[in-house]
């Protein structure tokens, strides 16, 4: 289907089902129950899942296929956000031109940075991209204040021109982002028994774009271009002595992944029309590296899983506090309860980074292929067991 092999079609369908039914899947616990805080099915967080999924899918095209580890991809995300917000300020609140501009501008930006950084490989390439991203961050933070509004961040105001739209709505407030009139923030609430499911226009736009981005990445992975990118990672020397110029291949991969990052940045600004320099900071660049490795670099679905995993931790684990813990462990005797809470305390709330760090270490050490490898092992284990049963049942009659 869609020019894909059966396995890839299945993968695409799985991702489609996961994203389209996310409001149900991420809301398994009834509102008001003790476990409701583990629900992630609210628009804000779901949008973040898919936007960072897109970011990681694009990063994986560069890192997963060519092995070039960029430590500055957040710069493209930031550039995409700024472009989109400027489009909202100058043109109209329609998200389509904003997203298009953010993809184009970040692509051009990636072309320049990639052209220079790709003169080196390995650690030097990583350092160059990191330096460029930090330079972009500093520029956005201070020197380029007229364009980026410095540390306050770029925001919409009532006196923006918006030549194709209105500067202000009838009641004097800033108009909201929309797609031909469909407001990004509008949410349909569906109450089923104790559950409360939320369907948000903005989320579904992001989800459809994620599906398109994922589909495109499958096509790239299976194309001759994708094979050349894997050849770059495997043996550049052999490639150059096989009549192939590896430079334009890596540059094209860099630009494509920069455009994915710009798309993610544009979507971020479309959901919440502001852009700040901190989006370009090196920690943001590091985050997408973690997502890709945690999920499984070089695999198709890995980056999406990694992005979801990390964003879930960031938003859910960080909200657990000591009161919640006391609630959980209240069945224990008093002294023991305090002790357990004391032990668990560093890993929750603001300490969620610690939990994530430990998980990341465990994954890298025991599952170098990331969550995808974990899934494959479980799958293989189940199948192995089944086969074991089958062979037993076969031998039984003979005995």
């Amino acid at each position: 289907m869609f020019g894909l092999e059966k396995r890839d079609t299945t993968l695409l369908l799985i991702v489609a089902i996961l994203t389209l039914f996310a409001p149900f899947i991420l809301n398994p616990f009834p509102t008001g129950s003790g476990l409701a805080q583990f629900n992630a099915g609210y628009p804000d967080l779901m949008q973040r899942f898919v936007i960072f999924g897109i970011f990681a899918i694009g990063f994986n095209i560069l890192f997963g296929l060519t092995g070039y580890l960029s430590f500055g991809h957040a710069a493209f995300l930031g550039v995409g956000s700024y472009s989109a917000v400027w489009m909202f300020k100058l043109l109209s609140m329609n998200v389509l031109p904003a997203i298009l501009l953010s993809v184009i501008i970040s692509g051009l930006f990636a072309l320049v940075i990639g052209y220079i950084s790709l003169r080196r490989s390995g650690i030097y390439f990583s350092i160059l991209t990191l330096a460029f991203a930090q330079m972009s961050f500093s520029l956005a933070y201070s020197v380029l204040t007229p364009i980026t509004n410095g540390e306050t961040g770029l925001q919409l105001t009532l006196d923006d021109p918006r030549i194709l739209g209105a500067s202000a709505t009838a009641d004097g407030s800033i108009p909201v982002t929309n797609l031909f009139g469909l407001e990004m923030r509008s949410t349909y609430q569906m109450a089923v028994g104790a559950w409360d499911f939320q369907f948000n226009i903005g989320y579904y736009l992001c989800a459809l774009i994620l599906l398109a981005a994922f589909y495109l990445s499958i096509r790239i992975f299976r194309s001759p271009f994708g094979m050349m990118l894997r050849a770059v990672k495997s043996n550049q020397q052999r490639m150059n002595y096989t009549g192939l110029n590896s430079k334009p291949y890596t540059l094209a991969a860099f630009v494509i992944s920069g455009m994915y990052a710009g798309l993610a940045g544009g979507l971020m600004a479309s959901m919440d029309p502001l852009a700040g320099a901190e989006r370009m900071q090196w920690t943001a660049s590091g985050e997408v590296v973690l997502m890709t490795i945690l999920g499984g670099a070089g695999t198709l679905i890995g980056p999406v899983l990694g992005a979801g995993f990390i964003k879930y931790f960031e938003n859910i684990f960080s909200k657990i506090n000591d009161n919640v813990l006391h609630g959980w462990f209240s069945f224990l005797p008093d002294g023991l309860e305090d002790f357990v809470v004391f032990i668990v305390h560093p890993f929750i709330g603001k300490g969620w980074h610690l939990t994530l760090g430990i998980l990341f270490m465990l994954v890298v050490i025991y599952l170098p292929g990331g969550l995808v490898e974990g899934g494959q092992r479980i799958h293989g284990w189940i199948r192995g067991n089944k086969r074991g049963d089958a062979s037993q049942s076969k031998t039984n009659p003979a005995e």
């Binding site: 020019g3 894909l4 092999e5 096509r219 790239i220 299976r222 194309s223 001759p224 271009f225 994708g226 094979m227 050349m228 894997r230 050849a231 990672k233 495997s234 043996n235 020397q237 052999r238 490639m239 150059n240 002595y241 096989t242 009549g243 192939l244 110029n245 590896s246 334009p248 291949y249 094209a252 494509i256």
Partner: protein, 251 residues
């Protein structure tokens, strides 16, 4: 005029004159061996031919065109393929994919942005790659990871990859170094078969005299960066100068 003409090539690394005044003419469809003791400059010369090094002086002409100043991929596209001392293959890719890459390079050139079409639906590339694997006797290994193969198989694969580009000149850098006797003999047979059946020139750098004398129909002896003699194998065998270069003056 040979297909490869090296004239007065010199190359200096700091205080070491690695090559001086090297002249070499490789005739079309011959098997030309370049031999010499360690440090004679054989590998430096080879690197000057494929674009890895640029000589300080002299000229290198392939089929009437200068190769100097061109990148390795450009020289390869001109028709020179190189086999490395330790097999250089795409270890993370399958054997079939390894064979498809040179076929794609031959068809599409040094760069082609085809990011949408499926590579496994390129019938012409698949057929060509599978035919070459068949010829190399490794079709049944096509779904194996290339890195998991034995050294002899890796060597066969690398030679096959080079051949699938239909080069006019095949350069081999000590292709049997570190191989067991049986693997060495297999490689000799393979190379013999290639030079008999194909319209191809082979230049080979080799240490092993058994390999040299079973394959070459022309030999250049290099010593201390300069060619000592260039002659037919039977004359090289008895040449006192060659003995001296290899064994020292006392011999």
């Amino acid at each position: 005029m040979g297909i490869l003409e090296v004239k007065n090539v010199g190359k200096r690394f700091g205080g070491l004159q690695a090559l001086s005044d090297v002249n070499l003419s490789v005739k079309e469809n011959s098997v030309h061996a370049i031999i010499g003791p360690n440090g004679a400059g054989k590998s430096t010369l080879l690197n000057c031919l494929v674009g890895k090094l640029i000589p300080d002086s002299g000229s290198v002409m392939f089929d009437g065109q200068s190769v100097l100043g061109r990148a390795p991929y450009e020289i390869n596209q001109m028709g020179i393929s190189r086999v490395f001392q330790t097999p250089e293959i795409f270890g993370d890719l399958t054997v079939l994919e390894n064979m498809m890459i040179p076929c794609l390079a031959k068809r599409d050139g040094a760069f082609e942005l085809n990011a949408i079409g499926s590579v496994m639906s390129q019938r012409d590339i698949l057929d060509k790659a599978e035919a070459m694997l068949e010829e190399m006797n490794m079709l049944e290994k096509r779904h194996m990871h290339a890195a998991a193969m034995s050294r002899g198989d890796k060597r066969r694969l690398e030679i096959g990859m080079c051949l699938s580009q239909e080069p006019r000149l095949l350069l081999l850098d000590e292709p049997t170094a570190g191989m067991a006797r049986a693997d060495t003999n297999n490689t000799i047979d393979l190379l013999k078969q290639i030079s008999d059946e194909r319209d191809i020139t082979i230049a080979i750098i080799e240490h092993d005299m058994h390999v040299v004398f079973s394959l070459a129909n022309r030999i250049t002896v290099l010593a201390q960066g300069t060619p000592l003699v260039e002659d037919d194998p039977q004359n090289i065998r008895g040449n006192p100068k060659v003995r001296e270069a290899y064994l020292g003056e006392s011999a």
